[in-house]
């Protein structure tokens, strides 16, 4: 049976790399004594898959992983066993059983709702300028990113974003936006932020305080 695990990655867990998260989950599964299913071959490993990796220093309330287990136990049972075995900062939201027709995680989500907290000299002014800049399609919003083959490529972030907003809160600048999360045109939140900071004058000197993913949408 395939289960989908929904979890948060917060507090000091933002310093854990994607690879280390995978290992942390494997250890937690062992501690929870889940009936794991293994791949065949020389180096058997657990059958599991993840939603796109979150960059270091980014927190999230809505991360996913799929796991195959032998047998068919209620999702609640899996949740109850796994929950106390999770390390600090990796917190389970819930576990659900997946229908065989369910698409794999890499094809499930289209958009991710992100919130960026920045430190700037004049947050209210910067919020206005940022919003105005974004909404003016004439203004460039592109930056370079490294591709999988380690080449530089230019990305225009405007078509990969929606629901953009900027505001002041508690003396800081808050930018929120949906970022494309589909496999082919995934937008990394660090690339998004880099594009804003490189292009919008008011953000040139800004310091990033926090990057947080609120929710993933289908």
């Amino acid at each position: 049976m395939r289960y989908r695990i929904n979890y948060r990655k917060i507090a000091s867990a933002i310093y854990i790399s994607h690879l280390d998260i995978q290992r942390a989950f494997q250890r937690a599964f062992h501690r929870a004594k889940l009936p794991l299913e293994y791949t065949m071959g020389y180096n058997p490993h657990e059958k599991m898959s993840y939603s796109p990796p979150l960059p270091l220093f980014v927190s999230s309330d809505d991360e996913y992983l799929d796991l195959d287990l032998a047998g068919d136990e209620p999702a609640k049972e899996i949740y109850d066993r796994l929950s106390p075995q999770m390390p600090k900062g990796l917190i389970l939201n819930g576990v659900t059983k997946l229908l065989p027709t369910e698409k794999p995680l890499s094809k499930t989500f289209k958009w991710a709702d992100y919130e960026f907290t920045l430190e700037v000299d004049d947050p209210a002014g910067a919020a206005l300028e940022t919003k105005g800049y974004y909404e003016d399609p004439e203004k460039p919003l592109a930056t370079t990113k490294r591709t999988k083959t380690n080449k530089e490529a230019l990305v225009d972030i405007r078509p990969l974003t929606c629901e953009f907003d900027a505001r002041e809160s508690d003396g800081r600048l808050i930018i929120s936006s949906f970022l494309n999360m589909s496999n082919e045109s995934l937008l990394n939140p660090l690339t998004f932020l880099k594009a804003l900071q490189e292009n919008i004058p008011a953000l040139k000197e800004s310091e990033t305080v926090k990057i947080h993913k609120i929710k993933a949408y289908r």
Partner: protein, 591 residues
């Protein structure tokens, strides 16, 4: 709590930041209230320190006390150290991000001589003065433990106190003692009366401090959980300690002398401990740790029991130290389902005469028989460990290492079951005469002599055999510290001030700076490393009573000269002095 906002800031600029944040599974929860704050410090990286079994034992032991919080601290990598300096932040503990300076105690684990500049690095990052005389009543008490402290003099102007032997025997008592008045000076005075504790400011030159050791390993504290690091440590596995000490008595080996007598755990104790650790960590590997695990009397039963219990869960059992004998091969074959991992053995010397000199009780026939068995079972990766510069060694003995390697290499051609080539590698160490061993009296070879002998090997070992060797310039400084005295305190400080740090890593080690540091103090490496001591001379480390008698060490040194061997403790007691004080050694165990 420290300044977490600034800590967050600097963590963005370092590699693998989760090494500095704590919060791993099984990290202990710190108690509220006015408890003793103890920092357990390891002068190496997180990955190395978190793999050390002694650290795990002490961490959970101390945190189990109602009046102590024990936190961890490691040496930051260069990028992190730079960030700390740039932001003017002190080195902090992993549990509560507290500056080391704010602890009551900092207990350093000294596992090898060349870690000392890293100790100073950690002190410097914490704004703690290096010399104990320069520290005040409000500074933490600096403790040192670990095998380096069997000769504490080279470090006795730096640390306030040394624990000689196995610290779990005395740390709880010392904590309670400190709790009774919480005054550094008064504590040091009274702690000097406690067995196994050496306090330089109280004990004179003529002190004689007895080593402490756990008498009953089955009753000794052993944690039922380990912290599970997020990043990969050197060893990510559940290690159970099957025994302490080694019955063999190799004459070069310090561990074989300073952990006497052999103390084994019962099979059932180990089975329970392994089971608890696997359940609490989620690891999928159990390591049976000790100096010589196949000598453990319950080895076969334990291996079989654990194998039967865990094989279905894909949890493997592993033996870290194999002897070159049929029994070890049998176990290795059972445990290793794939043959891709290299088998490692330590013949230590190439000639039979030399192996008899060092009392490595193994013959060339046994070596060849074991290896041909390994080849026949499909192993084609073999790594062998040797040593050069041993007492009574001739060039013939050195060249015998190449002879043996060639013999092994060509024997594979006839024995190999498949056409795969043999990956044979040999690692050659430069011998360091260590205190409290029969070879403590002997001078170390000079760096030039080591280099000449390495040349002999490089010129005679065929290129198909991969030969690596330890850096002679590093080994002689190790030798100087192992055999040195209080004059070396200043050399460490001088070397650190010249930029020496992480010296055990060859990419950081700088022989030139160390040479200058000795010269600046009016000293030379050779006067320590190459010094010959008389059998009745007073040695710098005579302030430590390790339990083995001088008479035994002298007798063993003389037998070495005649290439005579000594039986191991399990076969026959050689009256090394241990039983005189603590009663006859008994080695039987229960299932």
């Amino acid at each position: 709590m420290g300044d977490t906002y600034r800590i967050k800031d600097i963590l963005k600029n370092v590699m693998k930041p989760s090494r500095y944040t704590g919060g791993e599974f099984n990290e202990e929860t710190m108690k509220e209230g006015d408890v003793i704050n103890y920092a357990l410090a390891f002068p190496d990286t997180y990955e190395v320190g978190m793999s050390h079994l002694g650290m795990k034992i002490l961490y959970h032991l101390l945190n189990g006390m109602p009046n102590v919080n024990c936190e961890r601290a490691f040496a930051p990598q260069d990028d992190m150290a730079e960030e700390l300096r740039k932001h003017n932040m002190p080195l902090f503990s992993l549990e509560t991000y507290k500056s080391l300076k704010d602890f009551d105690f900092i207990g350093f684990s000294l596992q090898y001589e060349m870690c000392m500049t890293t100790v100073l690095h950690m002190l410097s990052l914490s704004n703690i003065p290096f010399y104990r005389e320069d520290r005040g009543i409000d500074d933490p008490i600096l403790m040192a433990g670990g095998s380096v402290t069997v000769n504490p003099l080279p470090y006795n102007k730096i640390f306030d106190m040394f624990i000689i032997g196995e610290a779990e025997e005395v740390l709880p008592e010392l904590m309670d003692l400190y709790d009774s008045n919480r005054n550094k000076e008064a504590f040091l005075k009274t702690a000097a009366q406690v067995e196994g504790v050496y306090i330089p400011s109280v004990h004179g030159e003529e002190a004689r401090v007895r080593r402490l050791y756990v008498k009953d390993m089955d009753k000794a504290f052993f944690p039922d959980k380990f912290i599970v690091p997020f990043t990969e440590a050197i060893f990510d596995r559940a290690a159970v300690e099957v025994m302490r000490g080694c019955p063999r008595g190799c004459r070069f080996c310090q561990a074989g002398m300073i952990y006497r007598p052999v103390r084994q755990k019962n099979v059932s104790t180990l089975y329970d401990q392994a089971e608890k650790l696997i359940a609490s960590t989620g690891y999928n590997e159990i390591s049976l740790s000790s100096l010589s695990t196949t000598d453990y009397m319950g080895c076969e039963k334990l291996v079989n029991d654990l194998y039967d219990r865990f094989a279905s869960e894909k949890t493997t059992v592993n033996l870290p130290s194999l002897r070159i004998d049929a029994f070890s091969m049998k176990l290795a074959k059972k445990l290793q389902t794939t043959r891709t991992i290299a088998l490692t053995f330590a013949p230590e010397a190439g000639s039979q005469r030399m192996r008899d000199v060092i009392n490595k009780n193994i013959t060339e026939d046994e070596i060849m028989a074991t290896l041909s068995e390994a080849f026949a079972s499909g192993y084609n990766k073999i790594k062998l460990y040797f040593m050069i510069g041993l007492p009574y060694e001739t060039d013939e003995d050195v060249l015998d290492i190449s002879r043996l390697l060639k013999k092994i290499y060509y024997s594979y051609k006839t024995a190999a079951p498949n056409g795969k080539p043999l990956a044979l590698s040999a690692s050659v160490a430069c011998f360091v005469p260590k205190p409290h061993t029969p070879f403590e009296f002997f001078p170390q070879d000079s760096a030039e002599e080591f280099k000449r002998k390495i040349r002999l090997l490089l010129d005679s070992v065929p290129k198909k055999i991969k030969l690596s060797y330890h850096e002679p310039d590093l080994s002689i400084i190790e030798g100087a510290f192992a055999r040195g005295d209080e004059r070396l305190n200043d050399v460490i400080v001088s070397a650190y001030n010249k930029g020496c740090i992480f010296d055990s890593w060859t990419d950081h080690f700088d022989a030139g700076k160390w040479g200058e540091a000795f010269a600046d103090c009016g000293l030379s490496v050779s006067e320590f490393a190459e010094r010959r001591f008389g059998y009745d001379e007073r040695l710098p480390w005579d302030i430590i009573d390790i339990g083995v008698s001088r008479a035994f060490l002298v007798k063993e040194a003389e037998k070495a000269g005649r290439a005579e061997t000594t039986p191991n403790c399990f076969e026959k007691c050689s009256a090394c002095g241990i039983s005189e004080k603590d009663g006859k050694c008994r080695f039987e165990i229960q299932d």
